[in-house]
Amino acid sequence: MPLILDDDQTMLRDTAHEFMMGEGSIAKQLRHWRDMQCKDGFGHDLWRQFGEMGFAGMLASEADGGLGMGAVEAGVVMEEIGRNLTPSPFLSTAIVGVTALAAADDDARARWLPGIVEGRTILGIAIDEGARHDPSNIAMTATKSGNGFKLDGRKRAVLQGASADALIVVARTSGAAGDTQGLTVFAVPTDAAGLSRDAVRLVDSSMAAHCDFDGVEVDGGSVIGDVDNGWAVVSKMLAAGRAGAASEAVGVGGGAMDITFEYLKGRKQFGRHIGSFQALQHRAAHLYSEIEIARAAVLKACQLIDENADNAELMVSVAKAKAGDAANLAVREGVQMHGGVGMTDEYDIGLYMKRDRALAEYFGDGRYHANRVAELLGY
């Protein structure tokens, strides 16, 4: 398969591009909700529009009312989201949540997917328990209780945890923290008794929640996949989430780069455009090549996920690490090349810096994934 978008994917990109630039723009969404201190950090109307546009259900199978698309298409939309810093539950719900639900039984799918496809339902992803990503280090317990389970433990900074209708929760049904064996995945409605959520606003104005599970009872139907063998589901969720976050990072980096280059062409000092200074031109050109390489790595990872290839996991880690490095370079250079105005809230470049910082932490940062790459390559 050529490592470029095909005609349908290009059309999807154009549609998503136009939509995020318009409805999803920084002025209309991110700044709007941030300035009113929105408790969810995004607009529910926009999420419903995601439903109408077919974005919300793009990964759900056609039998489940979705479009049956893959990681490449999801990545295309994520990149445009990143470029416009559009706040939405797309990553947690449409990508990671739907990927988890693909392994769920008919009842669970029928319960959650129609609302997701329409852009009404929101899922939170509750894997990590510490502040740094470590997905097998799970202490939360799920003990047998009647025909279901009782959940006890704590999840940190759950993505979209504040606004979610349900959480996809990874809990331990056997084994010890650190084992990939003995994990089970659950879909837990957020109105379940014993579940309390403590919403926190993050640096990028997105909302997460620390979630406490105190004897939360769920029935057997809420199990996704097999009891004790949840890692198979978690792996798929992580691959999808990492590829999605990496795609968004390319968008964030690319967006920061573009507005910075515009600035270099407009701002004058010493009687000339600052973009004519070779000291800045070289850094700009280096940044461009890093973003290009990151985009190639991410597209490759997405293609390999869709092909179910053996080396998909390796390339996903490469993509998450590389996209993180490139986007981080873009926002750091972006602020510096803007000079003083780069530090002001009025200019958008600082918003890109904040989003990049948050995104880097999702599903493992560059160091985490470089370490994964080393492990997968056998050293």
Partner: protein
């Protein structure tokens, strides 16, 4: 370049199966081992002598099949493969670690320029010779006063009716002492800087051509000073129009830069950490350096694949080879720094038998040229800034 129309996936699968079978039958086991020495690379040319029967049989099989230049048209010695089939052939060769049957400046640089600018007779004649490995070419661009600022070149071709008489000096001419012919930038109009250069081809055995090898920091002498003293060049040995050689030169540089960027891929060393497992285990900081480097290498490999697919589908920016060259060469220099570090004092040995005559340090030093030859990294960044990013001039 493609002769065969795009085909449904089934045909491509069949092509892959055929290719596997053909490679099985024709690529000798010795030709699937990593390249160890300079003469493991088959350069062809009048004076070429094959290192082994295996090298010769692999070369002959590929020439017969058009696989020295698989995507060139059959009429010019290629196999006429379209983009999808060329990619499959490359993948299948990489899968068994097959060596390139023939490597040459003709394939990488002059060939693409001739395909674009050559007359039909030139294509049939010169491309055929290149495909069959009969003529080895060298590149006469740089001069003592014209390096990064190539357009300042002074070598002059005086019009003598049916031929030019060329006088001047080139420098850094790689393999000039081993090459049969040269593609050379020659000033044919002193009054117009850009539109006063012509792209000439001539035989290095012509009267008045002499070469003098230059010793490098690696201790090797792969390139020369090249002198022209009243060298006669017939008028039909020009590529493109008179005084429009700069267009040909730039087009060719795009291909040269793409070729040099290939060093970034790391050849058989897909993962540096996997190549030095014990060292990675003993030194956690080195392991981190390896891991970070492998991330960059694997990402660059994806970029190289994407670059080819973008160019073949007409989506790539025409100046993108400059980005590839910049990124690929800087990566390869980093790789060799790590290879030296991994080796410790062993990697310092210069001429002992154990060090294979200092292969590692000499190879490390050689990579420093990557970001100089074919246009320096700084020049690449200038070109990216101007042509791709369209940043303003001073």
């Amino acid at each position: 370049m493609a002769e065969a129309a795009p085909n449904p996936a089934g045909d491509l699968d069949a092509f892959r199966a055929e290719t596997r079978e053909w490679l099985d039958a024709n690529c000798p086991p010795e030709m699937r081992l990593p390249v160890q020495d300079e003469d493991d690379v088959c350069w062809g040319g009048r004076d070429w002598s094959f290192k082994s029967p295996a090298q010769k049989s692999w070369f002959d099989a590929c020439v017969a099949k058009g696989y020295t230049v698989p995507d060139w048209p059959k009429a010019y010695g290629g196999a006429g493969l379209d983009a999808a089939r060329t990619k499959i052939l490359k993948q299948e060769m990489a899968r068994i670690h097959a060596r390139p049957p023939l490597s040459s400046f003709g394939i990488w640089m002059l060939g693409p320029a001739l395909l674009h600018f050559g007359t039909e007779e030139q294509k049939v004649h010169y491309l055929g010779e290149i495909a069959r490995g009969e003529i080895r070419w060298c590149q006469g661009y740089s001069e003592p006063g014209a390096g990064s600022d190539l357009v300042s070149l002074q070598t002059f071709g005086r019009d003598e009716g049916d031929h030019w008489v060329v006088n001047g000096q080139k420098v850094w001419t790689s393999y000039a002492d081993k090459a049969d012919w040269i593609f050379c930038l020659v000033r044919t109009d002193k009054d117009d800087k850009y539109r006063g250069i012509s792209f000439l081809l001539f035989d290095m055995a012509s009267e008045g051509v002499s070469t003098k090898p230059i010793k490098l920091i690696s201790g090797n002498s792969p390139f020369c000073e090249t002198f022209f003293d009243d060298v006669k060049v017939p008028k039909d040995q020009i590529v493109g129009e008179l005084n429009r050689g700069w267009d040909v030169a730039k087009y060719l540089l795009g291909h040269e830069r793409e070729m040099i960027s290939g060093g970034g891929l790391g050849g058989a060393m897909v993962s540096i950490g996997a190549a030095f497992k014990a060292e990675a285990k003993a030194d956690p900081i080195l392991r981190t350096d390896f891991a970070r480097f492998d991330v960059d290498t694997l990402a660059f490999r994806a970029m190289a694949e994407r670059f080819v697919d973008q160019m073949k589908s007409g989506q790539g920016h025409p100046a993108q080879p400059n980005m590839m060259k910049y990124a690929g060469t800087e990566l390869n220099k980093r790789r060799h720094e790590l290879v030296m570090t991994a080796g410790g004092s062993d990697a310092l040995e210069w001429d002992s038998a154990a060090s294979d005559e200092g292969k590692r340090p000499r190879g490390w030093l050689r990579t420093k040229a990557n970001s100089i030859e074919g246009g320096t990294s700084e020049v690449m960044l200038n070109v990216i800034a101007k042509r791709i990013l369209e940043l303003p001039d001073a």
